[in-house]
């Protein structure tokens, strides 16, 4: 792996472990066993590293995203989508732990992030519309935007929420599943007929996975 990539990967690890604020360019260089000067050869500064990490995160999400088609089981697609997203949220959770702070220090990163979020909001609305057209849920068109925002809020801030609800311990896989369950919970009251039992089956699946992962 190139030194540039190593710096990015190590930064992600250290940021997730100790928080972005606590990790300086010197820490990153020390962890890698390279000199600070070398790090500054590859990146202009810490902001520059953060921008590269965000680009990586965004590309991952764009790559994994598949708009729901009505051909396949729409709920299965939703779940695979949620799996990807929450997995990603876990890999980059430091970013959302310090979101407001990181964005306030970098105008360019902030406008990139805002544009991307706007994109995601549209995709969330498409997902909800897809579930509606597949008769999994029944929802007034006027409520779709609100639900899309709630899904996005939940996904974005699930990891910070979990981290700040308990005194000790890091994020574990079960926390990711619990987050997925929360999104399913948002959909559940709108589910109808067959859709309701399918969602309940999914809930049971993830509850089982939580129990198994905690052993």
């Amino acid at each position: 792996m190139s030194t540039k990539n190593k710096i990015i990967q190590t930064s992600i690890t250290l940021f997730n472990e100790h928080g972005e604020r606590a990790i300086t360019t010197n820490h990153i260089a020390a962890e890698l066993g390279i000199s600070p000067g070398n790090l500054y050869y590859h990146f202009k500064n810490k902001e520059d590293i953060l921008r590269h990490i965000f680009a990586l995160y965004r590309d991952h999400l764009v790559t994994n995203f598949q708009t729901l088609s009505e051909d396949q089981d729409v709920l299965e697609q939703l779940v695979s989508y949620l799996d990807s997203i929450f997995e990603l949220m876990w890999q980059y959770h430091f970013f959302y732990d310090n979101l407001a702070d990181i964005l306030s220090r970098d105008e360019i990163l902030k406008s990139d992030y805002v544009a991307f979020q706007d994109n995601l909001l549209g995709q969330a609305q498409e997902v909800i519309t897809g579930l509606k057209h597949s008769n999994v849920i029944d929802i007034d068109d006027i409520d779709i935007l609100d639900l899309a925002h709630m899904v996005k809020l939940t996904v974005s801030f699930w990891t910070p929420y979990v981290e700040t609800q308990r005194a000790k311990g890091k994020l574990i896989l079960a926390d990711i599943y619990t987050g997925i369950l929360k999104v399913l919970f948002l959909f559940k009251p709108y589910s109808q007929g067959d859709g309701r039992s399918k969602i309940e089956a999914l809930q049971n699946k993830y509850r089982t996975m939580i129990n198994n992962s905690e052993v």
Copy 2:
């Protein structure tokens, strides 16, 4: 006002305006026109200030909180409760903008916060149970905990969510009302009969207030 209180109030203002990370003890002292040495006479360090601010926030919330009684209009009480909470979230929004970060630096503050959150979760469950017993909503007992978590997540991270969804501009009063609408949105699918129309009336009330406040 005592110097000690002035320091606390000025800190809150500066933290909200520029973010907690960007404001040092020197900034606070300079803004107040006192010396850094004087500030350190009143507080051990910045952590100490943050602990005092959190205690203030917690006391406000405890004071304003009234468990819903079934005598009065339970929905009116809910709204007055939501008003207080979101108002408070606005006054101390820097705290939630940087929550994970602030708590990770101070074990004592973190355990105080966790204990308080546990408390709030119980109160949220009581509120939901109250709405159920008043027949405003119909919800399975098994779902109450999930809904309580969703309400808490929404309230806690609403201001960071808003701040990070748009490129420019600070929080305004309309943002608070929009947050209240999001909580009502969470309750709405569980509402029944008379309860549903009452919730819709409340939604319309806040939508009107948003429009008026933006003029």
